[in-house]
């Protein structure tokens, strides 16, 4: 499903966060949102999943504008793994994943066998089928992210949004999660901090800086040495990976 952002601006307490952001994401493939802290990655994502209403501009998910659709309609088209998940409650893993059916169920609908099957399949798919009976908050960080991914899959939405999904994960869990996401085949938009991960796992990058889109395109084009120096203040280069031979982004402190 196509995602089109047109002229989106957001200000929070008169501080401009996004400034006329325009971009188009084709159906399928993984798009990485990259940029320094405070560049507007999370804010842009929040506009896409209807958590934040832009002051100006439009967001199209498929044919429909997000703020002209109901919250439920958007919930059936966009699933998101956020960073705000509260751990101060005892939801089991199964209950957590089952929440993904929320936008599909009517006010008085009970959980159907189909709902349960979808949730179980999603949990199996992320390799967490064994953990259904566990309390979500007691899992490790990597396991939690996989469960939240399973919840997003349970939404059966064609668009998947990830807000810094590898934050706080050890390196093994980071790569595992990104491999998993890559293999899903959904239209995926992920805010990523690690430019090497962005290079390795994304088909397309959108570079944000101070609330504006600086560049879009394949990772090798977007992360040119000049641009990386200007935006991130470091030296960067793409080199063949010594183990896999695939493009690999390396950095060094400024000269």
């Amino acid at each position: 499903m196509r995602v089109v952002v047109d002229g989106v601006s957001v200000a929070i307490d008169d501080n401009p966060i996004l400034n006329g952001v325009t971009l188009a994401v084709r159906s399928g493939g993984v798009t990485g949102l990259v940029g320094p802290n405070g560049s507007g990655k999370s804010t842009l994502l929040r506009c896409l999943y209807r958590a934040l209403r832009p002051a100006t501009g439009t967001v199209l998910i498929g044919p429909d504008e997000v703020w002209r659709s109901s919250a439920r309609q958007v919930g059936r088209r966009v699933a998101v793994v956020t960073q705000d998940h509260d751990l101060d409650n005892d939801y089991s893993v199964r209950e957590t994943v089952a929440m993904g059916r929320t936008p599909h169920q009517g006010l008085l609908d009970r959980e159907s066998q189909a709902d349960r099957d979808i949730a179980r399949a999603a949990l199996e798919r992320v390799g967490m089928g064994w953990a259904g009976h566990r309390v979500f908050a007691t899992l490790s960080g990597g396991e939690r992210q996989r469960v939240l991914l399973a919840r997003a899959l349970t939404q059966q939405a064609p668009v998947l949004l990830l807000d810094e999904p590898t934050n706080h994960l050890d390196i093994g869990a980071q790569l595992e999660l990104l491999e998993l996401v890559r293999g899903l085949g959904l239209t995926t938009i992920a805010a990523l901090h690690d430019l090497d991960h962005a290079t390795a796992y994304c088909d397309q990058l959108v570079l944000l800086h101070r609330g504006r889109v600086i560049a879009t395109g394949p990772p090798a084009d977007v992360l040119s040495p000049d641009r990386v120096a200007a935006v991130f203040g470091v030296r960067g280069a793409i080199a063949p990976h010594p183990i896999t031979g695939r493009p690999h982004f390396v950095t060094a402190p400024p000269a």
Binding site: N89, Y91, L108
Partner: protein, 349 residues
């Protein structure tokens, strides 16, 4: 691992059993509580009287027993049940809508506003406020404080959890300050009535006192049961809920209004019964887990049972004197709650 395995103390078929047992327990507790008093009436006779009033045949009853059971005790026991259930539900709503475990009807200024209204009515003697009656003045005070919290907490028509807690605490402090001032100025005769009201009591309740809390609880219960799933989403995060297709701002405003009206209706009738709205939802979550589809029905019934039993204690512990309910909700509730909490920590380890 079987498919039904769950980390919660009670799940699956056990949940149905729990609701059935609690509901049966409520019936027994109500019948027993009606029977106990200055004149004890055997449970069998209580059932006969209630049966006669519900299904006809009151002529055959002993007039004295009938009056004790139906006119004096039944309304107060049922009011205790309604208040317990209503305040517990309000507590569930408030804890979820601000995602703060300390939230309860007390914290949000609604009880403070009701108290101020009631105390003005109790001490003013005459005038506009006295004309409303204590319950009417309490309800007016609760609505005024809700409006104040709303105006203070909203930013561009939206409510944020933290601002809501802070606004609620501020309004409650203001209301309590004014109430304290009025208490100091009250004469000793009025003061006892004020203290009794502030700590809550169902003594002297008659059938008309039941109307407002009953209607409010019924309406809010029906509405809440359709919102259990979005509330689950809201209880893990605003952004998560938005991502799951929940209109977070609208849900939060509706929950605040619903739980405040419910609190106002209950508190106007029974006074400031604290702790029920805080403790019952937590205790229930420790047993059935946090899913609102389970928490709502169990909180409603468990809260009712709890307050019926507490009311029973308040009028039997020092017969023939009666104590305010608020003293015992805390004294009996807190130890029970702490035991449950320790169990939870062990289970999580």
């Amino acid at each position: 691992m079987p498919r039904t395995a769950s980390p919660h103390l009670v799940s699956g078929a056990g949940f149905t059993v729990l609701v059935a047992v609690l509901t049966g327990g409520l019936g027994v507790a109500v019948a027993f509580a009606i029977g106990v008093g200055t004149v004890d009436v055997p449970v069998g006779e209580v059932v006969t009287v209630v049966w006669a009033h519900l299904f006809g045949g009151t002529d055959a009853l002993d007039p004295l027993t009938d009056q004790i059971v139906w006119q004096f005790r039944a309304p107060r026991v049922l009011l205790a049940a309604l208040a317990g259930g209503g305040l517990s539900l309000a507590g569930v709503c408030l804890q979820t809508l601000v995602r703060n475990p300390l939230a309860d009807p007390y914290l949000f200024g609604v009880t403070a506003g009701a108290s101020l209204g009631a105390v003005i009515a109790l001490t003013a003697g005459a005038g506009v406020v006295a004309g409303l009656g204590v319950a009417g003045a309490a309800f007016a005070g609760a609505l005024a404080s809700l409006a104040a919290v709303f105006v203070l907490a909203q930013r561009g028509g939206r409510l944020v959890g933290t601002s809501l807690v802070l606004a609620g605490v501020a309004v409650a402090a203001l209301g309590n300050a004014a109430t304290s001032y009025l208490q100091l100025r009250a004469n000793p005769a009025e003061l006892r009535g004020v203290m009794f009201w502030l700590l809550g009591s169902v003594a002297g309740a008659g059938w008309p006192d039941l109307a407002a809390p009953a209607v409010a609880t019924a309406v809010v219960v029906v509405w809440l049961f359709t919102r259990a799933r979005p509330m689950n989403a809201l209880s893990v995060g605003d952004d998560t809920a938005a991502g799951l297709g929940v209109n977070v701002h609208r849900l939060r405003i509706l929950l605040l209004v619903a739980s405040s009206l419910l609190t106002a209706a209950v508190v106007s009738a029974v006074g400031g019964i604290g702790f029920v709205g805080l403790i019952v939802p937590h205790a229930v979550r420790l047993v059935v887990g946090p899913d609102h589809r389970r928490v709502f029905p169990v909180s409603l019934v468990a809260g009712a049972v709890f307050l019926v039993l507490v009311d029973l204690v308040t009028r039997t512990v020092d017969r023939p004197n009666e104590m305010p309910v608020g003293i015992f909700t805390a004294a009996l509730g807190a130890p029970f709650f702490l035991v449950l909490l320790r169990r939870r920590k062990r289970a999580l380890r």
